[in-house]
Amino acid sequence: MAVIELNGLTKTYGGARGVTDLSFTVEEGEIFGFIGPNGAGKSTTIRTMLGLIYPTSGSARIFGKDCIEHGPEIKKEIGYLPSEVFYYDNMRVKDLLNYSASFYKKDCAGRIKALAERMELDLTKKIDDLSLGNKKKVGIVQGLLHSPKLIILDEPTSGLDPLMQQRFFELLEEENKRGATILFSSHILSEVQRLCNRVAIIKEGRLMALEKMSELKENTYKRFKLQPAGQVAPGAFAIPGVTEWKQEDGEVSFLYKGNINEITRRIAELDLRNMWVEEPDLEEIFMHYYVKGA
């Protein structure tokens, strides 16, 4: 069953672009990555799904129901963590979480306690006094306390330290095992890589690609940089999949796409001083989709 269905979703602000003709579906039980640079339209899409803004044309359906018409009903089962967390300042964490829980007709007291313990969040503190990372934790607990069936996270990891990020991911994996579908927006691909089954890549308000994570990994490039002790013979890496070959200042760099064993075998024949293998950054992946789309 499709949990999220976007059909030609378009949102323009006056003359400005928001998102254009966006269509994809997220299946039940998926962890779905929603990737794009800042200003690509990720938040616009998410906020339309939540009925915070109204689509110019097209529609978004959640649990098979139109998200404008049946907004309040579907929101019972949605947990949402906004990208920037601002909460009513002169409140204690506990009060805010209780206020949040009061919107759902269940007893969330146990969940709040358990989640706060997990995230090491002090419930008695004033929200005013919290650091960015701790505010983010409030947002996380707030989004998960009613055990929603759909969890929507808008750039959830900014401000969290690596340990907390780790714990947060574990938490999400548990929620997913419990049956929750997760939509995870980010501008950092590597962050999403670990968790997601599928990703949608969006740029300038348009869907660039929709791929399984496993395929995306196979299809993406790796950037190699070598510092050989001697000279590298010009033909040493003349195999298919090597592009952007560059050799200067005793360094060799190139992009490679293909069987990784093939290239390591070639590299192993060299006498190296140093070597770097990097995941291409998001921009490079976008370039790849640009080229493909053109």
């Binding site: 938040s43 939540l50 915070l52 907004g71 309040p72 929101k75 906004p82 759902y104």
Partner: protein
């Protein structure tokens, strides 16, 4: 109901402060009434030397100022000014809060309709104003009874006092509309003070020139206290005018609140 209680709690402090101020004004000024009434003749002479336009503008009525109702009517000008600021500030603030504190993504992602949010917020505001008026009514009634020299018509006193609530309701509705006119209202106080004082100045000018049509432009002139004293009731056309303004502003508020895009943070 949870939004209602939350908003009540959130505005508890400010409402308490406003209520105390309004009660303070009436207690303090009415306390001056006995000594004022004692020197009534001397005071009347001083007033007689003042230009008539000034007297009208500040709402002084020579023949009634020395009676308790007359004196109360006079100080009530300032009570309504304060009350209007309170009401409009409350209306603008309570509806624009999500935009200002960027908490819309919290509240509107909850399973509630926008209509329900609007209803809860306006009900909370109404409750707060009713509480303010209840306390004010009590304070005014007590002090009036305490300082009276001769007996006075309590019905007229009550009608005048109640006009505070009516003017406040008009300004509350204006505040609702003002909150939604701009995509994001960031500065509640300047907008409130600007609007209220603009109406107050129109009222001032209208009163001093005696221009009948100007009266329709400012809620401050809708409940003429000398009319209330003379007729024992409100002027129907201005009651209707208040209702129309409040209804228009409220409808605009409801429609805009339900339909507008919530600005991204």
């Amino acid at each position: 109901m949870n939004i209602f209680w939350y908003e009540l709690k959130a505005y508890r402090g400010t409402t308490l402060l406003w209520t105390a101020s309004l009660a303070g004004i009436v207690l303090l000024m009415m306390a001056m009434f006995p000594s004022f009434a004692k020197d009534a003749d001397a005071f009347r002479e001083v007033l007689q030397s003042m230009p008539e336009a000034v007297m009208k503008a500040v709402g002084l009525q020579l023949d009634s100022i020395t009676s308790l109702i007359g004196f109360y009517s006079y100080i009530f000008t300032y009570v309504t000014l304060c009350g209007s600021i309170q009401a409009m500030h409350l209306g603008t603030s309570i509806l624009s809060k999500e935009g200002r504190e960027k908490t819309a993504d919290f509240l509107l992602a909850k399973p509630v309709t926008r209509g329900a949010v609007f209803a809860a917020k306006s009900l909370a505001a109404l409750t707060l104003l009713l509480l303010t008026n209840a306390v004010f009514f009590g304070a005014a009634g007590l002090i009036a009874t305490a300082v009276k020299i001769a007996s006075f018509d309590f019905g007229i006193f009550a009608l005048i006092t109640l006009s505070l609530l009516l003017i406040q309701l008009v300004f509350l509705a204006i505040g609702f509309a003002a909150a939604l006119l701009l995509p994001r209202m960031k500065t509640v106080l300047p907008v409130t003070l600007g609007t209220v004082f603009a109406f107050f100045i129109i009222s001032f000018i209208g009163a001093s020139t005696g221009d009948g049509k100007l009266r329709y432009l400012t809620p401050f002139q809708y409940f003429d206290r000398s009319y209330i004293a003379a007729h024992g009731g409100y002027e129907p056309e201005f009651l209707i005018a208040s209702a129309v303004i409040a209804a228009v502003c409220l409808t605009y508020g409801i429609v805009r609140y339900a339909k507008r895009d919530v600005q991204a943070t």
